[in-house]
């Protein structure tokens, strides 16, 4: 329902700032990305139409395949952890125990901090002589050169992403758990189901749609990873770029005075399409299971 009495022009005046910003800085850049993807534009030259050449070049670019592999690997490793761990965390702080509000807030702290801050904290903890290695030493193990091996760096970046998101997704799950009828748990307990059985047969089905939502949000976010890897592995993603991700490749190839805007735009378009597909896949998986 709407209130009617107003001058015809005013709705558009209300919308003007929002529409102008979105049109100029989101939609226009999107269209311009699509257009540039088929040119050989550089930072200082507009470029000419080259058809599919950027995409053909991509297929023969080992850096592209490495970056694509890393970004997809990021999704494969990070998303299951992000769907499951915050759910367990939410179950942990769900009960109205004394001090639980403090714990919830404390678990959220990494979400509030900038990714740059937490990445630098991790770099320091993962140092060859850092906190983690001195703890390992106490246990008689290590030292491990966490930031010395390309695979280990990537794994550490993934752990960082999961760690930083714990509190955020925990809050989403807490809201979902509050909607689960208590009787379900009680009935299952009376039937003699242990905590693990109850988790699988009661909790998981009850928060399924939230798990799918978290899966969708985190898979798109994981695929677009930039800062964690950039800061842990260095701007080029390691000496030979073994740790580079797709967004890092876009940033590296498309900026600077000799930035290859055309090629970077083609890469961007690939990112856009894969992100969209990921999102649709996760949401479709949900629909299928619901109707089955």
């Amino acid at each position: 329902m709407s209130v009617r009495t107003h001058r015809a022009a005013s709705p558009w005046l209300f919308l003007l700032p929002g529409l102008a910003v979105v049109a100029a800085f989101i939609l226009y850049p999107f269209l311009s990305t699509v257009q540039h993807a088929f040119t050989d534009a550089r930072t200082l030259t507009p470029g000419v139409w080259v058809g599919l050449r950027n995409f053909q070049e991509m297929l023969h670019d080992p850096q592209f395949w490495t970056a694509l592999r890393n970004s997809l690997l990021y999704v494969v490793v990070v998303v299951p952890c992000t769907v499951l761990l915050p759910l367990l965390l939410a179950l942990l702080v769900e009960k109205p125990l004394k001090g639980v509000v403090f714990f919830r807030a404390a678990f959220y702290t990494p979400v509030v901090a900038s990714v740059v801050v937490v990445a630098l904290i991790w770099v320091w903890m993962l140092d060859d002589r850092g906190l983690l290695n001195s703890m390992l030493e106490m246990l008689g193990a290590g030292p491990v050169s966490f930031l010395g091996d390309a695979w280990l760096v990537l794994l550490c970046a993934m752990a960082l992403t999961v760690w930083k998101g714990l509190g955020y997704y925990m809050i989403i799950y807490l809201a979902a758990l509050a909607q689960v009828p208590k009787e379900l748990h009680e009935a299952a307990a009376v039937d003699g189901a242990g905590p693990i059985r109850r988790f699988v047969t009661v909790t998981v089905p009850a928060v399924r749609s939230t798990m799918v939502l978290v899966g969708a949000l985190s898979s798109v976010a994981a695929f677009k990873v930039f800062s964690e890897v950039y800061l842990l592995a260095g701007p080029t993603g390691g000496p030979a770029g073994e740790d580079s991700t797709l967004v890092m490749l876009v940033q590296r190839s498309g900026t600077g005075l000799s930035g290859r805007v055309g090629y970077a735009s083609a890469l961007s378009l690939v990112i856009f399409c894969i992100a969209l597909v990921l999102m649709l896949l996760v949401l479709r998986a949900d629909r299928k299971e619901k109707s089955a």
Binding site: V3, G18, L97
Partner: protein, 276 residues
């Protein structure tokens, strides 16, 4: 309320303390490192969290090697501007979409939904060239502009206005209030909660953002804190105490803000995730 048995209670507290160590411990370790003087071993085993002789020297040192307070001021300017533009722009647009009837309303709503579907990372190069064409590269204005009215914020405000009872405004119409008066005096004061969520997330988003300022700012004078910290890390990695001091400067304001306004942070997660 379900009763929690004694064993279960102990297990829960132990687990919560363990997670606490994992989530908050790293921040405390960083704080501790930043307070340790040059004479103190920062690589001890076993690790010691309490500085033997706490000093603020590292904070003075970080301010000496990079203009960290200027960077903080730049971040503050960007964040404050982002709060202002988002609150104004999103509430105006949200109100029109929720309460005004006009041709093209559905289309206007779809524009914001479409904008939400475009990952920022996939248009960042084009945003950069757009800023260059506008002659704004390497300015703080360019840092703020692309996110100055977030599509998600517009939709959040639209939903908040939609949820208001319709009768209050009806009465104002009868009293002869025009659309601007209804918006400012009746509708806006009723959605303060959502507006606070928008403001807080706009502040946090701008203060924490890294990729876009990294791309658009090239002159160290205009760096925001995150870009400045990246520079500090790249150039002075051999001074962990100083880097630690820098990160604490960047994170402390947000932790204080979070401690004071927790409720809105949590509410924002719910609204942003479910309706986004």
């Amino acid at each position: 309320m379900t009763r929690v048995g004694r064993t279960e209670r102990v297990v829960r507290y132990v687990l919560m303390l363990a997670v606490l160590a994992i989530t908050v411990g790293p921040f405390l370790w960083q704080l501790s490192t930043s307070l340790k003087g040059p004479g103190e071993n920062i690589y001890p085993s076993p690790p010691s969290f309490v500085p033997r002789d706490p000093t603020l020297a590292n904070y003075a040192e970080v301010a000496r090697i990079i203009p960290v307070w200027d960077y903080a001021l730049n971040s503050l300017k960007v964040a404050a501007a982002n709060v202002l533009t988002n609150c104004v722009g999103a509430s105006l647009a949200g109100y029109a979409l929720a309460r005004l009837r006009f041709r093209g309303r559905t289309a206007a709503g779809l524009v914001f939904v479409a904008a939400l579907l475009v990952p920022l990372e996939s248009i960042i190069i084009a945003q950069f060239t757009t800023m260059r064409d506008l002659g704004l590269n390497n300015t703080l204005v360019a840092v703020v502009l692309p996110g100055s009215v977030g599509a998600l914020n517009v939709l959040l405000m639209r939903n908040a206005f939609r949820a208001l009872p319709y009768e209050i405004e009806e009465a104002a119409v009868v009293d002869g209030a025009n659309v601007w008066q209804r918006f400012l005096r009746i509708a806006l004061p009723s959605v303060k909660g959502t507006l606070a969520v928008v403001a807080i997330f706009a502040f946090m988003g701008a203060w924490d953002d890294f990729l876009w300022p990294l791309i658009v700012l090239s002159d160290p004078d205009h760096f925001t804190l995150t870009v400045g910290l990246n520079f500090l890390h790249g150039t002075f990695a051999d001074k962990p105490r100083v880097v630690a001091a820098g990160t604490i400067i960047a994170v402390a304001p947000l932790i204080v803000m979070f401690a004071c306004l927790q409720r809105y942070f949590f509410r924002g997660v719910g609204e942003g995730a479910v309706k986004g």
